[in-house]
Symmetry: C2
Subunit: 292 residues, 2 copies
Amino acid sequence: MGTRFSGSFLAVDWGTTNRRVFVIEDGRVAHTERDGKGVTAVTDFAAEAAGIRARHGDLPLLMAGMVGANIGWAPAPYVAAPAGIAELAAGLLWVEERSAIVPGVSTRVSGRPDVMRGEEVQLLGAVRAGLAPADALLVQPGTHCKWVEMVDGRIADFTTAMTGELFALLRSHGLLAAQLGGEVHVGPAFHAGVEEGRKRDLAAALFGIRAAKMLGVRDDADAAAFASGLLIGSDVAVRLEHAGHDTVHILADPMLGGLYAAAIAAHGRQAVIASSHDAFVAGILALAEQIA
Amino acid sequence: MGTRFSGSFLAVDWGTTNRRVFVIEDGRVAHTERDGKGVTAVTDFAAEAAGIRARHGDLPLLMAGMVGANIGWAPAPYVAAPAGIAELAAGLLWVEERSAIVPGVSTRVSGRPDVMRGEEVQLLGAVRAGLAPADALLVQPGTHCKWVEMVDGRIADFTTAMTGELFALLRSHGLLAAQLGGEVHVGPAFHAGVEEGRKRDLAAALFGIRAAKMLGVRDDADAAAFASGLLIGSDVAVRLEHAGHDTVHILADPMLGGLYAAAIAAHGRQAVIASSHDAFVAGILALAEQIA
């Protein structure tokens, strides 16, 4: 397919529950649109693409994220790590003459096999934009937190932890749900959770939240912050155990990024937060340049 | 209150969702009744007690379990570990002239504070009945799995892991629910999960179940057995790390007990399964004797 993304095009960061459209003009973001039309809210993807073009211009469309999952427009492949911009560009899935989906990345480099879809654009963009060095440990906190080893500006290997999902499950269902409605912020309870996380004994530490309530040893208003510290802290403890980097680069919004930064600092490493939004834009521009 | 449980009485193992009544005549179980009238299904406990007496005889009533929680008949105290039959008997909560609730047990002996309610009768009964030695490591698998250090036939210290609850949460909600409907039995997938559990990295290992599906590296019919092995295996790995016992005594039904036995054996310890039902009867008889 001969379509090229030079100069002006439409980029879509299309996730499970949210969607963000970037209108790119002359290699810069001219306008963005964000809505709740994630892939689970969409059935006719071609009609959605037509709608995006009707609103923002009849331009080529470059999409990334869950739009390429089996619950999305069409299943895009996983490119095997190590992978950089060139490998992603070569693995594009064309779903229309002028519409392409960025592939995901898989790893079987070390440890357990793993997959990502959507994060790869941010990761490669972060290095391209100078938000992180070419050789670095990056973390993308969230429902499924990605820990990524970048080497020479490429995705060398990575691990996903369902830290955010576990917190959401515990907050919505089961024994602890009634205790975990409180606000989460960095403070003594969060840090106590981070310390407990060092023991890497989640199942018992979680029951400890209940026992602390029954025995009155912790103010229950602090339970959510403690649980968040525990989950993030055990994630950080495992990941930093053998990590050779003094600095961890976090791609996240300031709130969630701040929680990870606090846990990383408690483990004696430096944490640097960069904007995941800026990283995505840089990555999609680098991809467009490669294809053009 | 002068009521004594000598000779004949009614014992009730009154849990969250189930209830079992034991009719004790001359120190032996003459009859049992099991139903779904756990504490969450009951509002008028005095009426339930009257119903039990109407069906089984106008006898003293000795109750244990969640009936003594704040969602039960009345909140019974926690007796501090180390605790044996004498401490439990001294801590009975009388809710009627001839009806008493066995207290729970709390620990602040080492590690995190913890609580139990209902398990204490089984534990002390297991030793009294010779189902386990007076100095032993006992485990009671379930929604909230108890690991208990018995010293001189008394509850010296214990840890609760919400292993069973985590499995139930993951099976009913979230990313992995659709994969975890399969049967769980001891086999290669369960053992692979136990091995993964040694890494004590639950949040990442759980996402690995998803990745294995996406990359086709494990038959998805095996996902539930793997997840069970992972959760039980990490529980066993943490608990046996510093445990000095060559043998672990399991109080459970054969199915769940068999899963724990397999994981314990994989960690090089011997596992012995004893009937939790027999242990409860022995414990409640020992208590009745102490009170009489």
